[in-house]
């Protein structure tokens, strides 16, 4: 729900903004600052539009604010609509940048040749739960798969207890929450369950939209924000929520589970554990940037590159320049701790940063 509400709010906010921008451009065209490289466009103002992943949204929103003050004649618009929409809209050319938690599939690429996934930062997914009093909880992919398939229905189930020696677990019923919209978080979480337990969670149930097994009481929420609010309202719930919502999750009193990685160690997401997991994958990242970072032997097991899905050919030279500048700024200045720490993301490792820069250089008009 949160997502749709945000969309309405965003529309309500953007329309007057756009009008304002149009007015100011007509009155101050001649005086508009030349500080931006994209000031070549006739009106002096260029809009760079982004839509997609709600996990990426908090970062892009903070970029938007900062970039707007640095380059007043570049208008960045952003909205959280889910990764699926991000990819689809960027491919169709209705937005400049599609935000996605998942890299492009071969099918996407065969249908939209040249479409690029440019890594922006490294994010992760937390497994959160609403059990007041339980401060520490260990989970692994197998148990998670059984919870989401309805095979484990109460929190004091022996399989959960086996992972949590010494923790007193209540007999509360487990209410699994999943995303209602097409979501990169769903893709990453189901990928983790499948990687840890290929028979318990089959590959056919990995994706941005999943036919969730029937579990009594299970509910769906729209957007990462919807997951936070939904889980806060339901005792005994379990939800998968992007690390960028960790502060809201903490404010609402939800717990965060430590997850088993490939070597069986239980790990919480933090910049050091994300970096540790990243170390095993970053070297393997191909020039296209498409690399799964799920279930590493070290560090936190559900991490991913956040991607900007961009068409190499933009509608105008001004837009191409503006998109290039914005993305370059995002992976350099915008990847400073000032921006990444609040959303619990980690900056790209140097070799992946080079890959991203190469991809950005391919954008033209």
């Amino acid at each position: 729900m949160g997502n749709r509400f945000r969309l309405v709010a965003a529309a309500a906010a953007v329309v007057p903004l756009a009008l304002l921008a149009a007015c100011s451009s007509s009155s101050t065209t001649s005086s508009s600052s030349a500080s931006s490289p994209a000031s070549a466009s006739s009106s002096g103002n260029t809009t760079v539009s982004e839509t997609g992943s709600t996990l990426l949204l908090p970062l892009v929103s903070s970029w938007q604010v900062e970039y707007g003050t640095l380059f007043p004649n570049i208008l960045i618009t952003t909205s959280g609509t889910g990764s699926g929409t991000g990819i689809a809209d960027a491919a169709a050319g209705t937005v400049n940048i599609g935000g996605s938690d998942a890299y492009l599939s071969p099918a996407d690429l065969s249908q939209f040749p040249g479409l690029m996934n440019i890594p922006l930062a490294v994010a992760g997914i937390n497994i959160n739960y609403n059990l007041p009093g339980v401060k520490k909880l260990n989970l692994n992919g197998t148990v998670l798969a059984q919870i989401y398939s309805g095979k484990i229905t109460t929190w004091n189930n022996s399989a959960i207890a086996a992972l949590n020696k010494g923790v007193s677990l209540p007999s509360t019923k487990i209410v699994p929450l999943h995303r209602a919209d097409s979501s990169g978080s769903t893709f990453l979480t189901t990928s983790y369950m499948n990687a840890q337990d290929p028979s318990g969670w089959t590959a056919s149930n990995v994706g941005t939209t999943v036919s969730w097994p029937s579990v009594p009481g299970a509910t769906a929420e729209t957007g990462s924000g919807g997951m936070v609010k939904g889980c806060a309202a339901i005792k005994g719930c379990i939800a998968y929520i992007g690390v960028s919502y960790a502060s809201q999750v903490a404010d609402d009193g939800l717990g965060t589970a430590a997850l088993a990685n490939k070597s069986g160690a239980f790990v919480l997401a933090s910049s050091s554990t994300i970096n540790a997991a990243l170390a095993t994958f970053s070297g393997k990242t191909p020039a296209s940037g498409a690399q799964s970072l799920i279930n590493g032997t070290d560090g936190y097991p559900i991490i991913n590159y956040e991607y900007a899905i961009v068409k190499p050919k933009q509608a105008s030279a001004a837009e191409a320049t503006a998109v290039k500048n914005f993305l370059t700024w995002g992976i350099t200045t915008g990847s400073g701790s000032k921006y990444l720490t609040p959303v619990n993301f980690v900056a790209l490792p140097s070799n992946v940063l080079a890959i991203a820069k190469n991809l950005i250089a391919k954008i033209s008009s």
């Binding site: 749709r4 099918a107 996407d108 590959a203 939209t209 036919s211 969730w212 299970a218 769906a220």
Partner: protein, 349 residues
């Protein structure tokens, strides 16, 4: 002023009337109105045909690949997007896709049925009271509110449903309903997203349509037969049941179908409160479920880059359209049948 060609004074009255432009003549002769009417009459027809044809041609490969399983299976799987590609029936798509629309078709019919069960008695009762019992001013006030209710955007009702109404039902109403000794009424009452709340939200959207249509119908019933009924000593209830309602019978069916069509096609409000459980048929009144329209709006973007997926959603849209059209046709047949015998004129009450 300067643009008007100067005509020498004095000559103006003598010069022959200016030739009428072809356009004005065309207008005056009524061709314009004729063409407007012609277009107006054909455009809706052509649009219906156009939409059906486009949906069908889009969906055709999916219809062939999904086969009858689309109407008998419950599995809805968009496949492994990083899996191998398959080419058949002229389209390329990733492996592992499987589409069975039974839960969505059942869900669409179930929610609409719940909506009608609640909305029809309420609406007709409200219409009767507004026309026959309330003072004129109060009646027009309530009538105005009914029409305003019809004008509330469905997304607003959906928002209210998911934030306030759903949790309220789950907390206070659903637990009471579980005491009814019918298996379908028993089970986990959930958290305000599911079949019951979807049906109730739809009922709220259907009530103003059915109520305001039937109010207008009932208002059209002449006073004479009603007075006659009262003169015979009938109570208000008997009068309504034996005179007023039979008089408007055919129209009432039309009103109910208008409401049903709204319920079947309603998208966003249901998508917000149904629980989006793709591939699940509700096992009890409170379980999360899915309707055709809700699935299309929530998950089309997942498959938009896959040729089979997007065509399957076209097939789903086609099914939704056929259900709606079929409802309309059935309603028309019923109206025809009822309208022959319903009028109480000339037959004993």
């Amino acid at each position: 002023m300067a643009s008007v060609p100067a005509v020498p004074e004095g000559e103006a009255t003598l010069s022959p009337p200016r030739r009428e432009s072809r356009f004005r003549g065309w207008l005056r002769r009524g061709s314009f109105i004729r063409w407007l009417g012609f277009g107006g009459a054909w455009i809706p027809t052509l649009m219906l045909v156009f939409i059906l044809v486009v949906l069908f041609t889009k969906a055709w490969p999916a219809i062939q690949i999904n086969g009858w399983g689309f109407f008998t299976n419950s599995v809805w799987n968009t496949g492994n997007q990083y899996g191998k590609s398959i080419t058949s029936h002229g389209i390329t798509y990733v492996e592992g896709q499987e589409y069975g629309a039974v839960p969505q078709i059942v869900g669409t019919l179930e929610t609409s049925l719940i909506a009608l069960i609640i909305a029809v008695p309420v609406s007709i009762g409200a219409a009767l009271v507004v026309v026959e019992r309330l003072p004129r001013r109060l009646a027009s006030l309530i009538g105005g509110f009914l029409e305003m209710l019809a004008g509330i955007p469905s997304v607003v009702i959906g928002l209210w449903g998911v934030l306030t109404f759903g949790p309220f039902i789950a907390k206070y109403i659903a637990p009471a309903l579980t005491h009814i000794p019918i298996p379908f009424f028993q089970g986990d009452v959930g958290h305000g997203e599911g079949l019951l709340v979807s049906g109730l939200v739809l009922a709220i959207m259907v009530i103003p349509i059915v109520a305001s249509t039937s109010r207008d119908l009932i208002r059209g019933v002449p006073l004479l037969p009603r007075e006659g009924a009262v003169a015979l000593g009938m109570s208000d209830a008997e009068c309504a049941r034996k005179v007023t309602l039979p008089w408007v019978g055919a129209g009432l069916i039309g009103a109910v179908v208008l409401g049903l069509a709204r319920a079947i096609g309603e998208t966003i409000a249901v998508a917000m409160v149904c629980g989006v459980a793709i591939g699940q048929i509700a096992t009890n009144l409170y379980a999360a479920m899915i309707t055709i329209a809700a699935n299309i709006v929530q998950n089309l973007d997942t498959v938009i880059t896959d040729q089979l997926g997007v065509r399957t959603y076209a097939e789903l849209a086609l099914v939704l359209m056929v259900i709606t059209l079929a409802t309309n046709v059935v309603a028309r047949l019923m109206v025809k049948r009822v309208s022959g015998t319903a009028l109480p004129v000339g037959r004993g009450l």
